[in-house]
Symmetry: C2
Subunit: 395 residues, 2 copies
């Protein structure tokens, strides 16, 4: 039997999905599981999308252009222009989700063994994309006691070597909910300019910002050729399954080369693009309602968490995640125990252990990521479970 | 401005799509272009698929399981069982097109600098997937004068080194239309067994076979752990844009590790899976009609080609491609000239220069790949164009 590759063996399992078998076990025992482990919102996909899908009038589901439908790219450019960003359709490559956008960006910009600096905790799949591309992740730690603010320029500079080629940020951030200020982004601009690095910014949570508007990397002056913005329709329109994202960059050489990777996989999903293009007509009222709903959820969850003895949870300003530190020895063990051994009024709760969002060893061992993607009633029940569980676990 | 990666620079452009700007130029001048360059069939997607899409009754387009919906995998397993293959749902990983299936397979089975042997001419994107994975392609040449039959075991063995980890075949083959016999596949089995290699078989054209049934690698005895079958809904149901494929293997370790790459990209497209699952109810009459139609097209094209002085085109037994050798100095120059300078009764024709399907330098320079994906009337007009063009070009 031939051996599988070292790369496959080293490829990390998803910390968000690795406890799934235990959740399935709980369900088999008749226990209801509140899923706060995964960023799959319960919010409805906009009606304009479902309507467009029910009315597809083509007879052949064909390939699109490898860069995505031109009509979609043009309409998407207008969306960006509408939020004050200087983006034209030729600055956009439509991808199969934000995942592929980041994957292509790493492949196009970094050689194997090159280094990318990422503030941790970070979206765990960045590890997978880096491993897939043979790129080394160098973490710079942001701290729960600072509310996960951007580490200082000095901290970044300590890590820069001749192999450093890029910085990746997520803003608003998964998993911390932190939103970088204009000043923090200017620190990144100075860094990127000084060392001539690429700056990849995952801005897929742009619409989920509870205190003012987020500042896009595309607005940073003087580093237009260094900046790559990663986008996706998944969260904005609650259509994660459409698998449509985009690379947005003023660096035409980068876009042209990314297209070669795009040609190898032929085209992004046609049906998802139909959904994505229709979604651009979503009325503002949809976003307003979603925003109010998530802000309420956030306030409930964070208040409940900080009311539990020994729990620390900084107030997230965006996205729909929070990181909380628990009074336990090992959050992963605790999360598994919640699924295997605990129930309260017939229910339990599933979180993502936060250690998997850190790249440094032994970091975040007492932390969990909470995706507040359920309604207020269920969130309160889930917090009841956590409160009771912590008492029982620590007995 | 930071530099893009060596990998991106080396990443090949698609030979199928690189002449697209010249085709666009022709259209701008008002010239009709018969597209025989790309495997985008004009056949209608089955009605059961379009109906399923018009009746989607979900309110949220959610992620699916990273391995694809269980209901889809179970139904797909039944399809394989129906054609005599021992496949269960746990042997299947649903992917974003056959492209991702092959990409994951290479990543899971080969380390960077490992070698994969592929009979050339081969589907050009195999080069892209290999480059993306840092894997080296070692071509073994099949010859037009042999009708592109499998090279002998001796030819393969000459190329095997300690870095050889896999063989890739496409059966029925893109771009040659060749269908491997049971005896040829047994040669591959012996090779794979002797050197303990992986055997990746791209069988996406299974339903397009004009002389008997194709023999799947999944039927080969004694190498069950070595075999990976790559599948896709794209051609079978004329829905290339759905971007749904599959890895099928009895090697559970391989499937388990491929799932880690699957988790990193979260899920295959949900809408495409709805289409794929519905497509499994396509009535046999659909395939019978398609088969008759393509056989007719093949017969027209190949007869017309071999009637032109100096043109050689072996009879393809499957898929919907043929390779023809033309009486020209350089087929790529000729193909570009067809788009830039030629027209006949207001039309011209676009082919894919075949050199891009070879990995050895200077091979296939006089050859083109023809995708016979248009109706008989248009195919005849396209062949008229070719016939007139060759006379004019060679003046």
């Amino acid at each position: 039997m031939p051996k599988i590759s070292d790369k496959a063996i080293q490829m990390p399992e998803s910390p968000i999905r690795k406890l799934v078998p235990f959740a399935e076990g709980a369900k088999e025992r008749g226990v209801n599981v509140f899923h706060l482990n995964i960023g799959q919102p319960d919010i409805k996909t906009p009606e304009v999308v479902m309507e467009a899908l029910s009315k597809i009038d083509r007879t052949v589901i064909e390939y699109s252009h490898s860069a995505g439908y031109e009509s979609y790219r043009k309409k998407l450019a207008k969306y960006y222009q509408g939020i004050g960003l200087d983006v034209n359709s030729e600055d956009i490559l439509i991808t199969t989700g934000g995942s592929e956008a980041l994957m292509f960006s790493m492949q196009v910009c970094l050689n194997p063994e090159d280094e990318v600096i990422i503030p941790e905790p970070f979206y765990a799949n960045y590890n997978g994309f880096a491993k897939s591309s043979g790129v080394n992740v160098v973490p710079v730690t942001s701290k729960i006691e600072d509310g996960f603010a951007l580490p200082s320029m000095v901290e970044f500079e300590k890590l820069i070597t001749e192999r450093t080629k890029a910085i990746v940020i997520c803003n608003p951030a998964n998993p911390t909910g932190y939103v970088y200020s204009k000043e923090e982004l200017q620190v990144l601009r100075d860094l990127v300019k000084k060392y001539d690095l690429f700056l990849f910014a995952d801005e897929v949570y742009r619409e989920f910002c509870y205190e003012g508007s987020p500042f896009s990397v595309l607005s940073l002056k003087g580093i237009e050729q260094n900046v790559v913005m990663i986008d996706s329709v998944s969260k904005r329109y609650s259509m994660c399954g459409a698998r449509i994202g985009a690379i947005v960059s003023k660096n035409q050489d980068l876009i042209k080369n990314a297209l070669k990777f795009g040609q190898a996989r032929l085209s992004p999903p046609t049906l998802g693009q139909i959904a994505g293009e229709a979604a651009l007509d979503t009325p503002q009222s949809y976003f307003d309602e979603v925003q109010v709903e998530y802000q309420k959820r956030r306030d409930v969850v964070v208040a409940r968490l900080n009311n539990i003895e020994g729990v620390i949870c900084p107030m997230p300003k965006g996205a729909f995640y929070a990181i909380a530190q628990l009074p336990v020895d090992d959050a992963e063990k605790f999360c598994q125990w919640l699924l295997e051994e605990f129930s309260h009024e017939g229910s339990t709760v599933m979180f993502a252990p936060a250690a998997g969002f850190y790249s440094s060893p032994n970091m975040g061992m007492k932390e969990i990521r909470i995706a507040y993607v359920l309604n207020e009633v269920d969130l309160n029940k889930a917090m009841d479970c956590l409160e009771v569980a912590l008492k029982e676990y620590n007995k």
